[in-house]
């Protein structure tokens, strides 16, 4: 059971807080608007919310912020408040800060302040939606363990038109081919040494992470 601190209870922050709570962790939620704090208390979606201005380092200090597993700074529209809050947290010894940024410049400043991970919700969701619409969401790489991954890799040009055995992928790259996705979208599990590979094919491979990377770089 971990404890987390979330500062800023807009749509992003309140959802971060709620998922922590739903999964059995302790969460302290802070916002400087009494109205926001009251409404999240009334919703009963988390256990504890407190009104506080996080740019006020004295109030922040009283919360022993360095004791939290991680602190999430979810203040969006005021870059100043987000940056001041982050600076306060670093000053108070918080090691793990995750923050959302409203612009690239905002993100660069947070990076300089030692924020471990920066999230751009609107930009990232925009890119992900467009890819979904285009049918471009692929497995990319899914790590089975520290060494072995399953990945979907676009067929390198040099293998267009060859049969699987002609490519010698298995021996050269130590990768097993689990399935082939033809353009049109569906994976076929019928993969034999005679299978002929086409441009626009995607290969579902399993193997060591380094070998997958090496294979992926053939495209560039």
């Amino acid at each position: 059971k971990k404890n987390f601190l979330v500062i800023g209870l807009g749509r992003f922050g309140s959802n971060v807080a709620r998922v922590f709570y739903e999964n059995g962790h302790d969460i302290l939620a802070i916002d400087n608007s009494m109205e926001v704090v009251q409404s999240i208390i009334d919703s009963k979606t988390i256990n504890d919310a407190v009104q506080l201005d996080a740019t006020d380092s004295n109030s922040l200090k009283k919360l022993e912020v360095e004791k939290f597993e991680a602190v999430i700074v979810a203040i969006g529209s005021s870059i100043e408040d987000s940056v001041l809050t982050t600076a306060n947290l670093r000053e108070l010894g918080v090691k793990k800060i995750i923050a959302k940024a409203s612009t690239e410049m905002h993100g660069k400043i947070l990076e300089k302040l030692g924020v471990e991970k920066i999230v751009y919700p609107e930009a990232e969701m925009g890119r992900s939606l467009a890819k979904q619409i285009l049918g471009l969401n692929t497995l990319d790489e899914f790590a089975l363990n520290e060494n072995v991954s399953i990945a979907e890799v676009a067929l390198p040009k040099e293998f267009h038109g060859k049969t699987l055995s002609e490519t010698n992928i298995r021996l050269t790259y130590n990768l097993n081919i689990l399935a082939i996705r033809r353009s049109g979208g569906d994976f076929s599990l019928t993969v034999t040494p005679q299978t002929s590979l086409q441009p626009d094919d995607y290969l579902l491979v399993i193997g060591n992470h380094e070998n997958i990377e090496r294979f992926q770089h053939l495209r560039e």
Copy 2:
């Protein structure tokens, strides 16, 4: 090569537009702020942007909006403008509208207007970040083809403490077990009939989509 219309070029909309353009499709981008339109033209990240108030159905009509593959309404902070724009598009015969909503109520109204898909970028990213921090991001289900999927399934209670052969999963559910993720996070590919299954194990299975669903329902 498809053509898309994106209305509203904030962080979300401009990123949707950019990904379409990067992938070789045509994109018409609209915003009612000249400054925003000029800046996206200067950035050269898309081919065509025009200043226009999308709540003005006459201007919208001139664009022959019903000819686009899909229209993305990316107006966030003005619920009124987002809803009026969407109503205009439906009136002009647009079939496929995807819109972002700033609140649940905003989303409900868009649904009633026949929007095909509604996105809540801040809320969805907040949930996804919290899950990432908790190490809860799993493969869920990845469809290899119309019938066969790879999925990660939490071990049903009734199999706790049994060996793999005792569970008879392969014969009962027609699923192959590719790997087991022990609590702690890493998948082990060493799976034999003698492997003993524990609470908190996640099984990486491959099989028919219906069988995976049946197996997943054992947990509930």
